[in-house]
Subunit: 344 residues, 2 copies
């Protein structure tokens, strides 16, 4: 059994612009002894997600020289905890270290979930996608925050990404919505329509300001939109507000356009609009759904995936050393679907 | 029985600045015959509310020469409708006409409610206040949109007004909240604390921009606010966002600072703030609560008023001719509490 692992360590802060290989080092670390209540685990895949951008800033409180943490999926190698056994597949938020001991205390404070019930080891990448944080996030935002009604119109930004691609498919295939994607470039737009079933796809790169993006959105949805799943911010937020119908809802999940700005520009809003249109804007995070002991969101996602309602697209990287490059791709737009770093 | 009434008629549009006597005429109008299913009613009080500002704009769709409509309370003089009898006290949204026939068709399309169960004729002004639109609006926004938890901090703008004064008192005396008022000038601020029980009162006229108002708000609520009942817009909205704690909610009820601007400035918002703070911004109107056949909001307001939890302050005008002046006072800040025009 491996007595050492490899960690992705933050080596330099990045306050503006895009983080990449120059901000991380890969370090070999010893594996602690396994004590009662703990687990020895092997990461099989590590996730690269936009929310991690905040950890790389100098105001994050994260000391240089410490491992990055985020979502991983893997296998229990050895268990001294009654809830887990060797061979169990899991998803969890943990340090980005290939082989590590998770203590009882750590386990009680982190979010983790079992995957063996749903998938086999060769499908482990789903544990950081449709059966992990992105899947549960898509469920939480669409089902519980936006609360769709059949026939309504849903607009999704970053629509070919890990979360957006699932939001669109749940919207289309489960809730029978009209779905409108925003994505960057013709290739991603085609993917949104062909693979993810979006009815319309807007290439936001052809719009240089809010008015132009609003015009594209109104052309795709002449009667306006009922719901907006917000992953981007900036002109996307303003265009969605401009096209939002009465009783419209915006679920704010991400704001990637602002993550790499040291001083992002605010969006413009007329609060009075919300009154007569009875509109709601609500931010959310997936933590309460991921931590739900009944696993409502995870079970629903697993069922829809098994029914063939959710197609999964991945951009794969092989080797823990490539995680910084994978992370960078989220911001440059080089990725499609879920970014997966295979580290077994 | 009177065979003619007096109407408040829109005679000139007002697209910017404050509407006043120069925009209205008072006209004598004949009373229609009473047909089956209808009512002959006498208005006893007419309301002047900020939301009526929209009717006075040239883009309102309201033709010049037609009567203003809004909330009135009064008495049924004669009934040909089984649901009502002569002498019943009512509240309703109707034309501002002192004596009028309400047809069966009109009655089916307007919101109206019975007041005789709660008050006597000498208390009729409550039918356009605590037991009318402002009371039901205060209930809807605080109880059902903001959903308070005991011990939380509530910020209310236009806090000495018809709605705000009730929101603060429900918050303080029913939900045991810490309540913070914003009002214009020392007299209104004193009233907020002395009559309406606010814990703190901010004189927004001493702040000339968002940063200054935010500083006043943070001084009054050093740990931030959990809820904001929005009546004003502009720097109030931005200051509330700046002070809003995790899981904070904003109920958007009004935006009076923008009503008299031909092209109001938008507010600034960083949508990303809402994510990690799990915040919600929601617009609402009282119509669904006013139209609720069970009268949940009205019954609760009546009970709290009877228990002495809600003090009522009115600014009274006598004579239908004075309605334009009363309406103007809403925008100049000359009113305190509920503006009531007695027209019997």
């Amino acid at each position: 059994m491996a007595k050492e692992g490899k960690s992705i360590v933050l080596s330099a802060y990045c306050d503006s612009g895009y983080p990449g290989p120059e901000h991380f080092t890969i370090e070999t670390v010893p594996v602690d002894d396994l004590a009662d209540g703990g687990l020895l685990v092997q990461a099989l895949v590590m996730s690269a997600d936009p929310y991690l951008r905040a950890s790389v800033k100098s105001n994050s409180g994260k000391p240089l020289g410490t491992p990055m943490s985020g979502f991983i999926a893997g296998k229990v190698l050895e268990s001294k905890n009654a809830a887990w056994k060797a061979g169990d597949l899991f998803g969890a938020s943990l340090p980005f270290t290939t082989v590590q001991v998770v203590t009882a205390d750590q386990l009680s404070k982190t979010v983790s979930w079992k995957l063996s019930e749903f998938i086999t080891e060769d499908q482990i990448s789903l544990g950081i996608g449709v059966l992990g944080m992105p899947g549960v996030t898509a469920y939480a935002g669409l089902v519980d925050v936006l609360r769709p009604n059949e026939g309504e119109t849903l607009f999704v930004s970053a629509a070919s990404g890990a979360v957006g691609s699932l939001v669109g498919q749940i919207g289309k295939h489960v809730y029978k919505l009209k779905t409108i994607a925003s994505a960057g470039g013709p290739k991603k737009c085609a993917l949104c329509k062909d693979a993810f079933g979006y009815d319309e796809a807007i290439d936001y790169k052809t719009a240089s300001n809010t008015a132009e993006l609003t015009a594209l959105l109104k052309a795709a949805a002449p009667d306006g939109i009922d719901m907006y799943f917000e992953n981007v911010g900036s002109m996307h937020f303003e265009a969605a507000l401009a096209a939002l119908r009465a009783k419209g809802r915006i679920a704010v999940c991400g704001s990637i356009s602002a993550y790499s700005d040291a001083a992002p520009q605010p969006c413009a809003i007329h609060p009075g609009q919300l009154i007569y249109k009875l509109q709601r804007i609500e931010g959310f995070m997936c933590a309460p759904w991921l931590g739900d002991p009944k696993g409502k969101a995870l079970r629903a996602m697993a069922a829809w995936w098994k029914e063939g309602k959710l197609k999964v697209q991945e951009t794969d990287y092989h080797g823990v050393e490539r995680w910084p490059e994978a992370f960078n791709a989220l911001f440059t737009g080089a990725n499609v679907g879920k970014v997966v770093v295979h580290v077994a």
